[in-house]
């Protein structure tokens, strides 16, 4: 990586980072070259000061993840990290002022370079982001980031930024004290950097000055810290249930580092980093949130030959919860939306919901008044099907019933242009069966949103029997256009996400039917890494809906002359819906009670109807059941051709139904567990709990070939 070296008349040296790629990255070359330059500066008696700048649109986006992903030797990681820190330390103890000229985003290792400078000037760029995203990839800021943040702001202020991976924009960064000055042009930035250098010839970091104390006190003075330190791990446990190593390591590195001098603190930081980086969790998270997510966004599942096309005008059928949600996120992305419902009133009511969402968004400072009005104006609420005439994409989000869907598909087919594409937001009805109702089946595609639409990052695109590549590409481009992540799957009952998610819910109910303690089941789900326990999520989805889908499926099976595979959870669903008449959260009564002013709690009578078994399963046994059942069903989806990409499987599971993110997704879970070991454990579970745990043929083949997913 070239670093341009330029000396000016006042003996101010500018080092301009200019990586061969589109952004500046820390890789082996950079580390070497950067150290050479800095070492040269330490011998430069005439030096007046240093400016660090970037030749890219951003300042520096962090470390090369490929390099980090490959690292598997703790000793090498420790040494490499220490070497990088030694370079930064040389720079900040030059005895000469060093200024960071931040022309754009500075993230992770890039922001750590900036923190080793004595002064930070940033260009007023609304898109620029600053902060430490390391934790989201299972590691910690190891370029002296933990050590310097603690010394700049104190433990209490510094920790949340690093533990949560918060990114700040330029104004927030200045308010937080991360950036000293904001300027409006590049020229001004360089000019101010020069001025500052000339005015501060003896710049020194606060922590290198005599009499320095860490703001807010250090852990050696327990009177000061006794309010914060003992509870910090508990607050973390409440969020992570100890499933994530990185936030714990950040906490420890920060606390331990605050008790010792700067050099020792940076060494402690490197040791924790080496441990994290060589851990399976970090590899899983990098695999999912870096490589596979990038692969998806780069269009690996999109038909390549089709030209990219933006959606200009979107038609949404149905202004209910899903319908107005889709209209809302689309309008926010700058798409004109026609939202149609059976009556004008219902369409307008949907629009009012959107107006409220926009108000809320503005209150949180996310959009301006102008943008709010502009977005709302993009939405046309109507009851007239003819208003859909010039839409290039229509998405139906009407009631989940075959007859209702059939009606709107037929009605719309007559009006829209033959070039337009039609998406169905069904979560349960096979796309191929709806497709045949359309006059342009090749233009018909499944576009499955998750609820609530504005929060959930995933959209599942379903290819029906007759769906064309053009329709897949259209849906794919649209999903990216609204800032969400698309996965592409083939048509089958429940597609991918609903089908596999269903196994989690069923397993939870099966455990209940077997007489496991309901609270212990819920705890196992959360401890397994799922966002919500299986019974709580059933309440949220609605047990009535689960029953309804099951009955529909049973009928479909019978119509095809097949036997519906009944399992232990059927009895639970049946009991809850037909006997107890407790269908879920919306009704205020399900597996849980929902008192008005109190937190929900499990319905106490559950144990009378599902008496506790004498055989109490260990939490680990329940966790394995809850996770394995999902992983195995995912393998079946691959085997049956529903899934065609490992990235779609993994990202779909994490973004779609919050499958344990630290595992890297349903297929990566198997890789990380070890395929042979996973097969052996599956067989054990199958022996005890039934054929659903029997490893599918594909898994055996993959093991035999020594491959992984």
């Amino acid at each position: 990586m070239p670093i341009h070296f330029a000396r000016e008349s006042e003996n101010i040296i500018t080092l301009t980072f200019d990586h061969a790629g589109s952004v500046n990255l820390i890789d082996e070359n950079f580390l070497r070259e950067f150290d050479n330059h800095v070492s040269r500066l330490t011998n430069d008696a005439s030096l007046c000061g240093v400016i660090l700048a970037s030749a890219k649109d951003t300042f520096f986006v962090g470390a090369d993840i490929e390099m980090l992903y490959r690292a598997d030797d703790a000793a090498q990681v420790f040494e490499m990290t220490q070497a990088f820190k030694a370079t930064l330390r040389k720079l900040e103890t030059l005895g000469k002022p060093v200024v960071a000229a931040l022309n754009g985003s500075a993230l992770g290792g890039g922001f750590e370079i900036a923190l080793a400078c004595h002064f930070r000037i940033a260009l007023d760029d609304k898109k620029a982001q600053f902060g430490f995203p390391e934790v989201t990839l299972g590691v910690l800021p190891a370029g002296g980031g933990v050590t310097r943040m603690v010394r700049m702001f104190g433990l209490q202020t510094a920790l949340p930024y690093m533990v949560e991976g918060t990114r700040l924009n330029v104004e927030e960064a200045q308010d937080a004290g991360w950036i000293d000055e904001i300027v409006s042009s590049k020229e001004e930035m360089m000019e101010r950097a020069r001025e500052w250098i000339l005015q501060n010839p003896r710049a020194q970091q606060a922590w290198d000055a005599d009499g320095y104390r860490i703001p807010g006190g250090d852990p050696r003075r327990p009177q000061v810290m006794s309010q914060i330190l003992p509870i910090a791990p508990a607050m973390l446990t409440q969020k992570t249930h100890r499933n994530y190593l990185a936030p714990e390591a950040i906490l420890s590195a920060a606390v331990e580092g605050a008790m010792v001098n700067f050099e020792t603190a940076t060494r402690i930081e490197s040791r924790y980093f080496a441990k994290l980086l060589t851990s399976q969790t970090a590899k899983n998270m990098m695999h999912a949130f870096w490589f596979q997510l990038n692969e998806i966004k780069a269009g690996s599942s999109r038909p390549r030959e089709i030209e990219k096309r933006k959606t200009k005008k979107l038609g949404v059928l149905g202004a209910g919860f899903m319908g107005h949600g889709i209209a809302y996120v689309s309008a926010l992305a700058g798409i004109d939306v026609v939202m149609k419902d059976v009556t004008r009133e219902r369409a307008e009511a949907g629009k009012e919901k959107i107006a409220a969402l926009l108000e809320e968004r503005m209150a949180r400072g996310k959009i301006t008044e102008d943008l709010r009005l502009e977005t709302l104006a993009r939405i046309h609420a109507t009851d007239d099907v003819n208003d859909l005439r010039d839409c290039d994409l229509i998405i139906e989000a009407v009631f989940e019933d075959r007859a209702v869907k059939a009606d709107v598909i037929r009605e719309t087919s007559n009006v829209i242009s033959s070039d337009a594409f039609f998406g169905s937001n069904t979560s349960t009805l096979p796309i191929s069966s709806l497709q045949s109702l359309s006059s342009h089946p090749a233009h018909f595609v499944g576009i499955h949103f998750f609820s609530p639409v504005y929060k959930m990052p995933l959209v599942e695109i379903i290819r029906g029997k007759e769906t064309s590549d053009a329709a897949i590409a259209k849906a794919f481009d649209y999903v990216l256009q609204i800032g969400k992540t698309p996965i592409v799957v083939n048509d089958a009952r429940g597609f991918y996400t609903s089908r596999v998610f269903g196994t989690y819910v069923n397993e939870g109910m099966a455990l209940l039917a077997e007489g496991q303690h309901p609270r212990a089941i819920e705890s196992a789900g959360v401890k397994a890494g799922m966002a919500v326990g299986p019974l709580a999520v059933s309440d949220e989805v609605n047990i009535g809906l689960i029953w309804h889908i099951r009955e529909q499926t049973r009928k479909d099976f019978e119509a095809e002359g097949k036997v519906f595979p009944s399992d232990a959870s059927d009895r639970v669903v049946d009991f809850m819906v037909n006997t107890a008449k407790r269908t879920g959260k919306a009704q205020g009564a399900g597996f849980y009670e929902y008192p008005e002013s109190e937190k929900k709690f499990l319905w106490r009578e559950l144990q009378n109807h599902f008496p506790l078994s004498d055989t109490e399963l260990s939490q680990l046994e329940m966790i394995d059941r809850l996770l394995f059942v999902q992983c195995l069903e995912t393998v079946r989806c691959v085997q049956q051709g529903v899934l065609t990409s490992s990235a779609d499987a993994n990202i779909g599971s994490i973004f779609g139904w919050s499958f344990a993110p630290f595992s890297g997704g349903t297929l990566q879970f198997i890789n990380a567990y070890g395929i042979e070991k996973f097969i052996a454990r599956s067989r054990e579970l199958a022996e005890k709990y039934g054929a659903r745990f029997e490893p599918p043929q594909l898994l055996l083949e993959i093991a035999e070939q020594g491959k992984s997913f």
Binding site: A232, A234, V255, E256
Partner: protein, 402 residues
């Protein structure tokens, strides 16, 4: 045991409210300790040069309570120069741990005469102000599932189904029993605290609320609910996954009081007692310590007591009186259940730390004195002292009058 360990005497200071307006706040911890050492000397006409060691429990051994306060107190009390001193810490068990340590030294024949005791000025050195890896090191904090003891107490109440009313009733009984004992002069082992001029400072346990009522107790707010919400409940629920939530029943009224105080016990061999003309009050039969699950933390008394009773070849039915430290109301309540006792009839008969306070390092030695006084008053034979201990431990000592 090769040699029997006899208890020749036990004294304690009154307990002062552990706040800046408490009567003992102005007294240095070294003076509290010197007070009880001098009392032992005077009451027994003791030739201090015969004392082999002074073993003192202290839980916050920093600042004016740091630097081996036992040796400082020996010097300050004007004892013979040849008497050494050592400070030990097993959290709330420290005072009884000192007694057990002294008993071991005598039983082994290593020492002949030892003073054991404890001191804690909680008004000066707040609980936890010495730090420690247990809760200040995030790794150990996470590994141990650290929660404050009040959360552990509420966790026990949740598991045992003790209601707020149950624990308040227990607290009321502690107050009433302590007030009655105070009124009738049962606390014989207590010695007053005076200033350097001999002027009176405190001669009664000032934490007792003789007039409290169930209504007053019921009006107090739960003390640990907020910190529970902030994350500690989640830690406890992660360890006890069958619980729906933690019921926060403990308040300032049904938890032990924060107080200042010191205690000392004189232990020795039979021969040494005879040589010095001391009359033994009791004999140590056995002692034990155990570790227990650290999040629930306070369930150690029963397993420690069972272990000690087994060593003594006894069972709970053989014990006339129990002193179970009232760190929180649920601790003796659960003890009664775990040991299969008939209620609290012979447990903490003169009240406990809910009424009188719990000066951490001193309490164990104080309870031993209270127990001896009561055994003698009723002419009973056997007694057991037990305490729950921070970090998930328990301690017990079994004694018999001679």
């Amino acid at each position: 045991m090769p040699h029997d360990a006899y208890i020749y005497d036990a004294v304690r200071t009154p307990r002062g409210r552990g706040k800046a307006d408490g009567s003992l706040h102005e007294i240095q911890p070294v003076d509290l300790l010197a007070t009880v050492l001098r009392a032992l000397q005077t009451r027994n006409n003791l030739d201090t040069a015969q004392v082999d060691d002074v073993v003192i429990g202290c839980v916050t051994p920093i600042a004016e309570q740091g630097g081996v306060i036992a040796r400082s107190a020996v010097i300050h009390a004007g004892w013979a120069t040849n008497v050494p001193g050592v400070q030990l810490d097993r959290f709330c068990a420290s005072g009884l741990e000192a007694v057990n340590t002294a008993a071991m030294q005598i039983a082994s024949g290593w020492h002949k005469l030892v003073v054991a005791g404890g001191v804690e000025s909680m008004s000066r050195l707040p609980m936890g102000s010495d730090g420690g890896a247990w809760f200040m090191d995030p790794r150990v904090n996470l590994e141990s599932g650290f929660v404050p003891q009040g959360i552990s107490a509420d966790l026990i109440a949740t598991i045992e189904n003790f209601s707020r009313d149950d624990v308040d009733r227990y607290a009321l009984q502690s107050q009433q029993r302590a007030a009655y004992a105070e009124q009738n002069g049962y606390f014989k082992s207590r010695v007053p605290v005076r200033d350097q001029n001999g002027l009176h400072i405190l001669n009664r346990d000032e934490h007792i609320r003789a007039n409290t009522t169930l209504e007053r107790l019921a009006n107090l707010s739960p003390a640990f609910e907020m910190m529970g919400d902030m994350g500690f409940d989640a830690v406890a629920l992660d360890r006890y996954p069958k619980l729906e939530r933690i019921e926060h029943v403990h308040t300032a009224g049904n938890s032990s009081g924060i107080v200042d105080g010191a205690a000392a016990v004189l232990l020795g061999s039979k021969e040494m007692g005879e040589r010095l003309g001391l009359k033994p009050r009791a004999k140590i039969l056995a002692g034990a310590v155990v570790g227990t699950e650290p999040t629930i933390m306070l369930t150690g008394p029963a397993p420690a007591s069972k272990k000690a009773l087994a060593k003594a070849g006894m069972n709970a039915r053989d014990i006339d009186l129990f002193e179970v430290n009232e760190a929180f109301a649920v601790v003796p309540m659960r003890f009664v259940r775990d040991m299969n006792l008939d209620g609290t009839e012979n447990v903490n008969v003169n009240g406990g730390a809910i009424a009188m306070g719990h000066p951490l390092g001193a309490t164990g030695a104080m309870l031993l004195g209270t127990l001896l006084d009561e055994l003698e008053r009723n002419d009973l034979e056997t007694g057991l002292v037990t305490l729950c201990v921070g970090g998930g431990m328990g301690i017990a000592t079994v004694v018999e009058r001679v």
